[in-house]
Structure formats: structure tokens, C-alpha cells
Amino acid sequence: MGTLWKIALRNVFRHGRRTAITAIVMMVGIGTYIVYDSILGGMDRLAIDGMVRYSASWLKVRTPAYVADETGTPLDHGIPDPAGTAAAMRRAAPAIKAVTPRSLFVGQASNYIDAEPILCAVVDPEGDAKVFDLASSISSGSWLAPSGGPPNQVVISATLAKDLGLKVGGTVILSARTVYDTENADEFTVAGIADGGLNLPASLYMSYADGKTFLGDSLPVTELDASSPRAPNLEDELAASAAGAKAVGSALPSLDAQPIGEFAKDYLALKDSKQKGSFMIVFVILLIAAVGIVNTILMSVYSRVREIGVLRAYGMTAVDIKKLFVREGLIIGAIGSLAGLLLGGGFVAWLHGTGLRLASLFNGLDLGAFPANGVLYAEWRPADFVIGLAFGLVAAWLAARSPAKRAARMEPTDALRFV
């Protein structure tokens, strides 16, 4: 029947201030949980986007032999017929937007005084810019010129520039083992300095024209990297990438196609432990809200003792008295939770649309896995809304039960005498 709900609802609104305070605590709690979790999701996304935009790409194809010997970055396990393979990849996975080759090798960089071993990458300046964000992350100088430009130009990472005190226009001496297993060394001019944080797969980049001159004409392509339009949600992105890798893998059985998830494995494993943090937040705040609800319902019970007596005198059962007050708690819980969903949802919508510039947030701070020029977009996580609402209602229900039982246990005669 509606009468219990009616009485409960009207009492909740009759004591608006009491209700509001408790509901606001719940709103803030659940809202915080939703925003926090969405930002966590956004950070995961940002970190994984960093991998996709700089190193892992949406889909990476290499030879199995190369993958098996990856840490050695060998130049003798190249992909046969890179152009044909790239075309086959596009055919197998239509989601692929662009494919570009890269060849990684180990070298030694020096400024004549200090030297350090570094990872280098030979890239196709035009194609690379279509697949990766490296070309657009040049903080000073410029990206590698397309074919026909001046020879021996390199782009180096900001870290290498700092280590060796190099500036744009400066000279770096690079030595490395060629495809003929001989050592070669040459001077290169720093054309640009790239800012990609830890996401940069190599510390130094040069074009295939320069790479072939330096390492040998038969320089193999060690990997083909593909890009695809960015999916708004991480889960979708991972799933699409996995599907693409599967299609390419079966079209090119002699090669190894790896999706994003393969490279983000360690990171994704960490994600679960961070999730526990957001549960802690919601738990603590709901605990506070639960105390508020216990208090509110107790106040409600004690301000209506005689009303309880009247209802009991007229034959209402103890069970119904309990229901009456539990429903009051549930109504407050529902108001608080729904307000929390709105608050959280509003914030997430804003952070999802506008995003937060990390550089403006953490000025000059080393952000590790996050590219300093990154923009943090909160992720929509529909499950959070369900969890938030469920948590709120269950907490309210649990909290309201004990004061409601107290109301139900009152003797009608005592309740009626109460002044």
C-alpha cells in the first residue's frame, strides 16, 4: 500500500534540513567516488594512449624471431616486403587508418665528452607522423624533413638532450653496429627535441634515407605500426585492437601481430589495485553517511514516539512500524545517491568533454608514464553509477534498520505515555 510510503515520504520532506544534511553527505560521497573513479579511468586511458601514440601503436607487426629476441633489438629479423605486408594488414583489418615502418637499433650517443648507450629508431618521417604523435611533440626545433632534405638530421628526446647538453642545431656523434656487422660512427645534427616523457620508444630518430646510409642499404624494417581512430572508451579501444590483431594474425600467419593490450599488460594489472582505492573512498564516506542516517532516523523515531503509539493502538503491526522508518532511510538514501549520481555525472561529463591539461596542473613536474603535454579526459564508467546507487541504497537500508527496529520494539502503552 502507499500509506507507509506516503507517511515516510512526507516526514522526510517535513524535516528538510535533517534530510538535506544527510543527503548531501551521501551526494558528496557518491559523487566523489564517481568522479575519482572516472579520473582514474582517464589516467589509465592517458597512460595507455601514451603508449599507443608513441610506441606500441594500435597494432604492431613484427617477425616472431624478432619478438623472441626483442631485448637485443636485432637488425637481422626484418619483415620481408614491408610495403606488401602493410597493404595486407589494411585489407585484413579495415579499422586500420595508416601503417608506418620503424627499425630499432642500439647505438652509442656522445657529445665528444660524455657518451651513453641509447635506443635509436629509423622512421619514415611522413608515415610516422600519420601513425604516431612524435612529430607533433617537438618542443624545440622541427620534425625530420621528408625525403630530399639535408642529410644526417636527427630528432632526440628531451632526456638525451639534457644528459648530453645538446641543443637544436648541435651535433651528436652516433656509433652503432651496421647490418654488415661492422661498427660505424657519424656526426648528426639535432633537428628537433621531442617531448614524450617515458613513452618515447627511443632516444634518437632518423629518416630511412639517413638510416640506410649509416647502417647499410639493406636495413630491414623491424616493425610495422598501424593506427586506427581513437575509441572514446578504453575497453572498446582494447577490444577493437585485439580484434584487429586477430584478423591480421590470421591473414599473415608468418608474422606476429600484437594489440595494445599486449603492451599495456603490466599497466592494466596495476589498474585493479587502484580500483580498491576508490572503493575505500566510497566506503568511508558511506560510513559517515550511514552514521548520519542512523542519527536522522533515530531523531525521527524519538520525535514521533506518540505517533508510533497511535499506530500501534490502531492495530498497525511492529513489522509495519519498522518498515515505515526503514523506508524513511531508503528515501533519504535514494535522494542522496541520485544527487550524487547527478553531481558525479555532471563533473565527469565536463571532464570528459573539456579535459584537464596536465601541464597546467603539474607545472614542470616529472609525470613518469604520462606525457607532459597530455590532456586528461575522465572516462565514462556506467558501472560506477550502478555501483554508486546500489552502495547508497544498501548503506541507507542497513543504517535505517537498527533505529527502525527500536521503534518497532516500543510498547504501545509506553509510546502513548511518552511526552
Partner: protein, 265 residues
Amino acid sequence: MAMLELSKVARVYRKGDNEVRALDGVDLFIEAGEFLAIVGPSGSGKTTMLNILGCLDSPSSGTIVYDGTDLHGLDEKALSAYRRDRISFVFQSYNLIPVLTVRENVELPLVIEARARGRSSKDGAPFATKTRSDAEIKALALEMLEAVGLGGKADRFPRELSGGQEQRVAIARALVKKPLVVLADEPTANLDSRTAGEILDLMRDINEKKGATFIFSTHDHMVMERARRIVTLHDGQIASDTTSRIATADSAPGGISDTTSHGRS
């Protein structure tokens, strides 16, 4: 057979070593349609008596037979069901539900009844009447409000009414389910004497026209004088039991002039 028979009813409150005999061997017969006042000094046991008559409390010893039903040994649940179906209350401080409108307050006993009936037929079965629809409940409530002269206030909230009006609503609420008996513990104590008189007149009027049984307690002489029968308690025992032969309320001051003493079983 009397509608209500109390025999050797006692109610003892224990507090540590102290023992208070709030009722001490009360024998009483009450017929349907009576208009009975229970009077006596403070602490004489009036409230205790009404609580026991209302099945809100059980006697420590003695028996109560209501309309042929011995209430002895009924558990709280059964007493609650009996109360729901047969007994109504009017309280000193009106005790309307503040968040319900006047009409909703009057509907409440019927709603509680309908709810119990709807839930299961087993627990309320011995006293079951037919289930009423929402529309019937509403019509009955409005009819009752008309009877207490408040038909125009149906959609007001209790706080918008005067004390006398609130008590009229409480009377309508008590009568709407056509109870066996209406119990009222000092129903006029919070009202000025003129309003108290009006409330008593209303109760008496309903008693005469509809045959509803009223049992009320009071301290007030003017109120006592309008009763047809007065049971006086003293230290938990019946000190006197008198019936006025003059039935009209307006003969007030001399209303108890001609009385006979009731037999005590």
C-alpha cells in the same frame, strides 16, 4: 450477556522491591451502547484500566471477556489484531498524524485494517470483515467527517485546525471503522471548558444516534456530569458505580440527580 466483562482484574507494576497495584481486583460489566466515565484521583488507575480495556496491556491476573471472547492468553499479535478490528482510541493530546491530511487521518484505521486483510487472511481471520476499496474508504472517511461537522476541512492538515477541531477529527478517526468500543483517556483535558463541553456533546450525540459505546476517563466535573454512568476508582479499586437515568446532555448540572447503584458481580 454483557459486551464486556472484567472479573478480578489486577495489574501490578513491579519496580525493584516496590510493587504498585495499579488495578486491584476490578469487577465490571459494560453493555453495548453505554456512555461511561471512569473517574478518580490521579494515580487511581484510570489509564491502566483503559489500557487493559483497549488490549494495549494485559492484566496481571483476572479475566476479560469481550463480546464472548476471552482475551486471556492471547499473544501480542492476536491482541493487536483484536484492537485493529474492534477497538478505537481518542487521546488527550489528539495525536493526529501531522503529515497526513484530516481525511487521511480518518482513513488510517480502515487502511491499517485493509492492509492486514490484504496481507493474509489468516492472522485477522476471527474478526475479519470484508475488504474495502480505496474509494469506499474515502467515502466512509468523508461521511464521518461530516458527522463531526468537519466536512469542509477534509484536505487540511492537523496543524491548521484548533484543538477542538483536532479532537473532532480524532473522534471521526475512532468511529470510522465502527468499533465495538471507543476508549478515550481524558479526551477533554487539553481543551477549554466550552470546547470540552462541545466535544462531550458530540460524543454523546454519536452515542445516542449511532449506538457507539464510549468509555472515557476524566478529572473534570463538568465532563463527568454528562456521563450516563460513572465508575469511580480509588487506589485501583472501584469505589462507586452510578448510573444517571436522565439521558439528555443539556440537563447538565443536575444530570446525576437520580442514580442507581450498579451491582458488582
